[in-house]
Structures are given as structure tokens and as C-alpha cells.
Symmetry: C2
């Protein structure tokens, strides 16, 4: 979707209007897989190193053990993370699978927007 | 977040590791505002032109009138869309407010990823 200015309001250029239906489907498919409240945060939490369950829970504030457990299972099944079990000492860690790299642009754009939006709210509150 | 290859697995470069916590907060704030199942789809549906309630409902497949009504109210309150009421003939339409343009990169990256992910699922299914 390319949003341009037309008659003083944002709109997509006519050439792109036909893509809207496809775009809705793509965005809604993406949010179905990685939307939700926690999945992307968990992926970001694993971005700097493999982590144990409790380490992830500490980093992703507010997530319960039950929900984290279920989210990790989902993320493993969809190929975004892997579970690594070592025996001596017994250690279970989670890490990013190669497919998580496909989300780089999504994470970056959401992170930038989240930061900008927070700044905007602060500015609006001061006006 | 910049994901790079290290020891054969995706990871963020050490220089960026410190940004993870901030990135988690940004992504989670963004998803809090525009995550959900419908909001971005509604914004994409309005991208080519202002639309009436029933037109939006037709385009955003599967949304109920009750949920669409509530989502439109939310989007209006957060400044992403406006409601335009004309009197003669009586016509209520919704359109994109200028702030929706800030979501361009988010929508584009999600749309591209959704499309790529669907292709991947098809390829995986054939293997």
C-alpha cells in the first residue's frame, strides 16, 4: 500500500487501489500468525542470545508462565524458535530459528512506530 | 533489532543487544494500539477511498457489525480515521486521517511478510 496525498487527504494512488484486497488478506494472515500480544516480544527477547524459560519470562514483562509455555510451543511449531536440551548439566534453552530472520523488517517497523507513537502521545499531552 | 548470522545461528550483533529491552517495549506498545485482529485491515480497506460502514464490512471479511462499530470508534479516538457526516442526502462515511500515514511502513512490511509466509507454507506443503 502506498499512501499519498490527494485532495488534502491521505489516499492510495489509483494504480495501487486494486491491491487493497490482497493487502488486507496479507496483513490479516500475518497478524494471524504473529499478531497477538506476546509472540513478537518473545522473538525480540531471544534476539541477543538463547535463553532459559525464566530468563524469557523476566524479559517479557507481564507474561504468565502458562501463557509463555503455550506461546513457546506455538513459536516452535511454526518454525520461529527451537528448543535446545543439554543433558549434563540439564539445561533447556530456547533460541531463534533461521526463519525468524524473515521477521526483521516487521519487527523494525513496529518498533520504530511504537517509539514514535509514544513520543507523539507525550507531545500531544503537553499541548 | 538487526539480526545477523553468528556461529551458524541468527542473533543480534552485540552492539545492538542493549536495545532489546527497548525494542520489546516498542513492539509491544505498537501491538497494543494497532495489533488485534481487525484494526490494520480496516485501515487498509479505507486506503483507496472513504467508505460507508457496509462497504468496509464487505471488504474486511468475517468482521461482525458489532465488532466493526467498536473498532471504528477506537480508530477514530486514536486519530487514525475520521467520520464524515453529510446531511442531504444523509451519508456517513469513514476515511483515513493524516496520522494513518505513519503506519505505511508497518502495513507494507506486514503485507509483504504475510504474502511471503503464505508462499512458504505452499512450498513446504509440496515438499
Amino acid at each position: 500500500m502506498e499512501i499519498v496525498e490527494k485532495d488534502g487527504r491521505p489516499t492510495v494512488s489509483t494504480a495501487h487501489a486494486g491491491h487493497c484486497q490482497a493487502s488486507i488478506k496479507n496483513v490479516s494472515d500475518a497478524l494471524y500468525v504473529i499478531g497477538g500480544k506476546w509472540k513478537l516480544s518473545i522473538i525480540v527477547a531471544l534476539a541477543d542470545s538463547d535463553k532459559r524459560f525464566t530468563e524469557i519470562q523476566r524479559q517479557v514483562e507481564g507474561i504468565s508462565a502458562r501463557v509463555l509455555s503455550s506461546e513457546l510451543k506455538d513459536l516452535e511449531l511454526t518454525g520461529f524458535i527451537y528448543k535446545k536440551i543439554t543433558v549434563d548439566p540439564v539445561l533447556i534453552e530456547y533460541g531463534l530459528a533461521p526463519y525468524s530472520r524473515s521477521l526483521e523488517q516487521v519487527v523494525r517497523s513496529l518498533s520504530e512506530w511504537g517509539s514514535q507513537h509514544r513520543d507523539k502521545l507525550k507531545t500531544d499531552a503537553l499541548q
